[in-house]
């Protein structure tokens, strides 16, 4: 009882001191401000989001700008709140990986009201009505995305190339555009190459449910020899590998996944994965460049822009080593290259140039430029 | 060498000085009575000695060793155990589990509690106290108030105390329970053990105690041998002024109107009582007596519609309605004072005001609005009527002394101006002065045409205030006696057993 009263009194005292101190702090003024870019992202601690953020920070540094990150957990309410918050913090532009088309109208509306440019990364808008609405908005700058059907197709083909015949797919939740498109791609490749799809499991967002799902599949289908992880090289892939290892089936079951992380080299060496797509963390970088040019007073287009990117595919240890060396240990685009993607430093830079750079992105491309 | 010495112990609760510089010494083999008005500090003193609360200042010695218990367990180890005034058993546990609470290790083998073992030991313990009717594996909440009290008592004895404190327990007990209790006290005394016995029943104190300590407003007034002391003298010491001689009714005849207000016909509750019929009249005080498990406490609950009767009817004649649930009962002007006041009578975590006003809310409201001012006035009036000792009507009931809780519990029906009051042990734990005023009040109500059903374990009280006494035995009306001059306790007991 007594301690509580003391604590309460202490809190009141801190309050008092704080009030006095506040006057001093408020007196300080601000100086000339660098551009501030707001990024709403699903998380900030998994490999993909970490890389996205660090890459954006690097680019911003080069250009003397700042990046503000807000985590939304892929929940619509949080995404709306984040955009509100970021705008309130005085961001000059905001970008988001929207969890569903349905939040786009609201987010676009917020941007319009605040007259802050907005762009999407990793996403295209599937719903025609919503796409029309967004593209008619003055402050919707555009979106960058991967051709996920192509990704699924490429990885599905890699499975077939290994001679595998019986596969399952585990994936993010239904309704997630990316996951859905990869699924379509896988199915297409399997159908063409005669790989049997034994089963599929959705709503796998984490390692634990992935372990459970995969263990059930292994138990149910002794003939199982391939697992396609549609969504997520983070938790779901880690869980899948764990389950396969638990059943001593490493090497017998080929795993493919998207979004590779830092341990891709080991995974390939240990035959834990057969092929992976990834490296597309540069996608938000192109969204950022679109926004930067806009904010800097040199919009690359007066209409919303859609840029399509190719991911990098890795199927061997050597490739992975190269990838680590050229894309992870050093930025895929160096200072000079970044500056050259802005009209500020490169008067002749156009949207077509940016598209070309994005389309050319691959392991060979990076090695070529930096050799 | 004294067994227990208490020196200048004081305790203040927020603003209430509950105990001031209290000193006393208890000798080996002594039965010490402790008396005083409600809120005079008896329970506070007992709680300090037995480790329930710690004093603000002062010292205590047990067999000349410093005695500073921080928990009940520490006090137990020093040889002191207590039967508390309020309910001290834990609902949801069995009798045996309650009895051996804190001693489970004795019955644990390799981490497993041997329930059968414990039950057997419990059965044995209960039998040695002459308690035959309680099964050790029964859920304690299914037992009657008295049985639960007896289990607490058994638990306190089980510790094997050098000093046993019994706080205001007997008024909750029937004749049988009291006999068991006093038998054990005598046995302890014979074994050179000591007892502090707190009670508002002064006759009982004089009969069973060697010495008596009187408290008033947190101060120990005096300690006297009981020999050569009479009730009147003791009362004067307690209250600090002379009291009227008797507080019971002066008249010797039943007197009530012809108007029937409550008609009870063939009322049966399976397992408790059967075929009870009577008419309650305006201006009548109907006493109901019997052994504690004769069904009279259950009868009170059924009359008030808290339990549905198996068959039979209760009719509120003025309203022309049968009463079948408590909401109807209240609407028909009934009020009910339960025996188990801490759980059934009061909301301990609410203020005195909230407790007193609760049944009257429907009368206080205008459309839907309940004026805080009116609530306050009502509560003030109720508190004054029974002179509740409190710091303000906003005080939580949790912090009231036992007797004052009882007053709050009664007050809520008085301020509602109930026409028919069902009172189960109305003067339980109430001091003599207030007892007198409650009896006076009951007569006042009677004069105003109210009707009262008074269920009581106290034969004196039954004889003293009732117009008629209905005696139950094993759930059946054994006899109904009219008020008359030479009605004796023996006669009533005759029908009870």
């Amino acid at each position: 009882m007594r301690t509580k009263n003391k604590l309460a009194t202490a809190l009141a005292l801190i309050l008092l001191i704080g009030v006095l101190g506040a006057n001093v702090v408020f007196a300080e003024g601000g100086q000339e401000k660098p551009y501030l870019f707001g990024v709403s992202i699903w998380a900030d601690s998994d490999p993909l989001s970490k890389k996205v953020i660090s890459n954006l920070r690097y680019a911003a540094d080069v250009l003397g700008a700042k990046v503000e990150v807000a985590v939304d957990g892929f929940k619509p309410d949080n995404q709306v709140s984040n955009i509100e918050n970021l705008i309130a913090r005085g961001c000059d532009a905001v970008m988001i990986c929207n969890c569903t088309d349905a939040v786009v109208p609201k987010i676009v509306k917020l941007a319009e009201e605040a007259e802050v440019p907005l762009a999407l990364y990793f996403r295209m808008i599937n719903d025609p009505e919503i796409r029309k609405y967004a593209e008619s908005a003055k402050y919707f700058i555009g979106n960058v995305h991967e051709d996920e059907i192509a990704v699924g197709y490429a990885l599905g083909t890699a499975i077939a190339d290994k001679g595998r015949k019986n596969a399952v797919i585990i994936n993010y939740n239904k309704g997630d555009t990316t996951a859905g498109n990869r699924y379509e791609g896988y199915k297409k490749a399997f159908a063409e190459r005669g790989v049997k799809l034994l089963g599929e499991q959705w709503d796998i967002l984490d390692a634990e449910p992935a372990v459970n799902a995969v263990e059930s599949f292994i138990a149910a289908f002794p003939e199982l020899d391939a697992i396609a992880v549609g969504g997520g090289g983070g938790g779901p892939l880690a869980g899948t590998i764990r389950a396969v290892r638990n059943h001593n089936k490493i090497g017998q079951i080929s795993i493919t996944a998207s979004d590779f992380g830092p341990d891709i080299e080991d995974s390939l060496r240990n035959q834990e994965v057969a092929a992976m797509s990834g490296g597309h963390w540069t996608d938000p970088f192109f969204t950022f460049m679109l926004l930067y040019n806009y904010v800097d007073g040199h919009p690359l287009s007066d209409k919303p822009v859609t840029i399509t990117m190719e991911p990098i595919y890795l199927t061997s240890v050597e490739e992975a080593q190269q990838y680590t060396k050229w894309c992870m240990d050093q930025p895929p685009y160096n200072e000079e290259e970044i500056k050259n993607m802005t009209v500020r430093y490169n008067k002749d830079f156009t949207l077509a140039d940016l598209r070309e750079i994005a389309a050319a992105y691959s392991l060979e491309d990076v090695m070529e430029r930096h050799k | 060498m004294s067994l227990l010495r208490v020196q200048s112990v004081s305790k203040t609760f927020v603003t209430t000085r509950a105990l001031r510089e209290a000193s006393l010494a208890i000798e080996e083999g002594e039965i010490r009575g402790l008396v005083g008005e409600n809120g005079s500090g008896k329970s506070t003193l007992a709680s300090i000695v037995s480790g329930i609360i710690t004093p603000d200042s002062g010292q205590m010695f047990m067999q000349d060793k410093p005695h500073t218990p921080k928990t009940v367990l520490e006090a137990n180890n020093a040889g002191i155990s207590i039967v508390v005034q309020e309910m001290g058993t834990i609902d949801g546990l069995t009798v045996a589990a309650n009895l051996f609470l804190g001693e489970e290790r004795r019955f644990t083998k390799r981490g497993l509690l041997k329930t059968a073992h414990m039950n057997k030991a419990a059965k044995q313990a209960l039998r040695t106290f002459g308690i035959e009717n309680i099964e050790p594996d029964a859920d304690i909440s299914a037992l009657s108030f008295e049985d639960r009290k007896l289990i607490e008592f058994a638990k306190a004895l089980h510790v094997g105390p050098d000093l046993l404190i019994v706080d205001e327990t007997t008024t909750a007990l029937s004749q049988r329970g009291r006999e068991i209790l006093f038998g054990e006290l005598q046995r302890l005394k014979a074994a050179k053990k000591s007892i502090i016995f707190i009670s508002h029943d002064l006759a009982e104190v004089l009969e069973h105690c060697d010495t008596v300590t009187v408290m008033k407003d947190g101060v120990i007034v005096d300690t006297l041998p009981t020999a050569g002391l009479d009730e009147r003298k003791l009362k004067e010491l307690m209250v600090g002024r002379e009291l009227q001689q008797t507080y019971y009714r002066e008249d010797n005849e039943a007197s009530y109107t012809d108007e029937v207000v409550l008609r009870v016909r063939d009322l049966t509750l399976k397992g408790s009582f059967s075929d009870i019929s009577f008419d309650l009249h305006s201006g009548e005080i109907l006493g109901i007596g019997g052994l504690t498990n004769c069904g009279m406490h259950e009868l009170g609950k059924v009359l008030f519609g808290l339990h549905a009767a198996t068959s039979g009817s209760v009719e509120a004649v003025r309203h022309g309605r049968k009463v079948s649930n408590y909401r109807e009962a209240i609407a028909c002007g009934l009020g009910y004072l339960p025996k188990n006041r801490d759980q059934e009578g009061l909301m301990l975590l609410s203020s005195i005001k909230d407790n007193i006003c609760l049944p009257s809310l429907s009368r206080l409201r205008k459309n839907t609005f309940i004026s805080p001012r009116k609530e306050r006035e009502l509560a003030e009036r109720g508190a004054q009527q029974l002179s509740i000792k409190m710091s303000s009507i906003n005080q939580l009931c949790l912090y009231l002394s036992g007797g004052n809780k009882q007053k709050v519990s009664l007050s809520k029906w008085l301020v509602r101006d109930s026409d028919i009051l069902i009172l189960d042990c109305p003067t339980r734990g109430i001091d003599v002065a207030v007892k007198a005023s409650i009896y006076t009040l009951m007569q006042e109500l009677k004069r105003r045409g109210k009707a009262i059903v008074m269920i009581s374990e106290e034969l004196q009280e039954l004889i003293g205030v009732s117009d008629r006494i209905m005696i139950l035995r094993r759930g059946i009306v054994e006899n109904t006696l009219n008020r008359r001059e030479n009605l004796s306790e023996e006669e009533i007991i005759h029908y009870m057993i």
Partner: protein, 304 residues
């Protein structure tokens, strides 16, 4: 000294405002940002107001998060038929779930946290099914309902009504009496079962309204909508000084003070740029502190 304990929630609120006011160099307190905080807090405050009635009785309502989800889904589905159906549908869904919660609790005598926890799971499952594990968009014109004027008006009306009901009527007093001691309240004539159901009807219906507000705010009903809202509500109420036991110490103000505290805390941490995981941890620690400071050891014995 006793009085200061009652002030703890207010001191806490002031501390949060002050701390983040300083850390954000006043940005927290700009009109624009305060409007934002209000915008984000309004659902929490309204939902907490409803749950305050439940907690006053010493019960819990853990179904709120999923209820927000399912009302969202129902609302969006109804809105697809006709936008005018959205609000009635939201209120009806909330009311119905409140009725189920209350009836299970009052008549089957299952403890409230179990009942509402089960309902939480069931409703989340239904939400995932209804949204096909994704999201349902609502007609874009419905975003127009997301205006400050509407929200401020609604909030003022609801708070005024709830305050009156809670403090000045037999219903509110009866509910608190149940929290203080159910048996004694019954013995004093309080219609215990009826009030229990009523409390859940209030909390359900208000949560239904929140479901509608949420849908018109985000433009979508999602399978994840409202996830963990029930814990935010609980935290807000406890931060606001609501005793877990309910009873006479229950105050409706807790919903407002706690809701604002939580919203300001969240907004402030975003403004300052604290990592998301750390934000959760900070909330947890503050919650613990609030419970510790407001917990009455004496009365703990009496928690049912």
């Amino acid at each position: 000294m006793k009085g200061i304990k009652k002030l703890i929630p207010y001191i806490g609120l002031a501390l949060i405002i002050l701390l983040f006011g300083v850390l954000t160099q006043g940005k927290l307190l700009t009109l624009r940002n305060l409007k934002l905080v209000f915008n984000q807090a309004v659902v929490l405050i309204i939902a907490s107001t409803g749950v305050a009635f439940v907690m006053a009785q010493g019960s819990l309502d853990l179904s709120q998060g999923s209820l927000l989800g399912i009302t969202g889904a129902m609302t969006a589905t109804a809105a697809a038929l006709h936008p005018g159906l959205a609000l009635p549908m939201a209120l009806l869904t909330g009311f119905a779930v409140g009725l189920i919660n209350g009836s299970l609790l009052a008549f089957l005598k299952i403890p409230s946290f179990i009942v509402t926890l089960c309902v939480l799971f069931v409703l989340r499952g239904l939400t995932v099914i209804a949204t096909h594990a994704g999201s349902i968009p609502v007609p874009m014109e419905m975003l127009a309902f997301d205006s400050y004027d509407i929200k401020v008006t609604l909030l003022v009306l609801i708070l005024a009504g709830a305050y009156y009901l809670f403090n000045y009527t037999q219903t509110g007093k009866g509910m608190r009496a149940i929290g203080s001691g159910e048996v004694a309240a019954r013995y004093s004539g309080v219609p215990v079962e009826r009030l229990k159901v009523t409390a859940y009807l209030i909390s359900g219906t208000l949560c239904g309204l929140c479901g509608w507000l949420n849908v018109v705010r985000t433009g979508a009903a999602d399978s994840k909508t409202g996830l963990l809202l029930e814990l935010d509500i609980l935290t807000a109420l406890v931060l606001g000084g609501m005793p877990l036991t309910g009873g006479s110490g229950a105050k409706l103000q807790s919903a407002v003070v706690g809701g604002l505290m939580l919203a300001l805390l969240g907004n402030g941490m975003v403004l300052v740029g604290i990592m998301a995981e750390l934000q959760q941890a900070v909330k947890g620690v503050i919650f613990l502190l609030a419970v510790y400071l407001s917990f009455e050891r004496e009365s703990a014995v009496l928690i049912k």
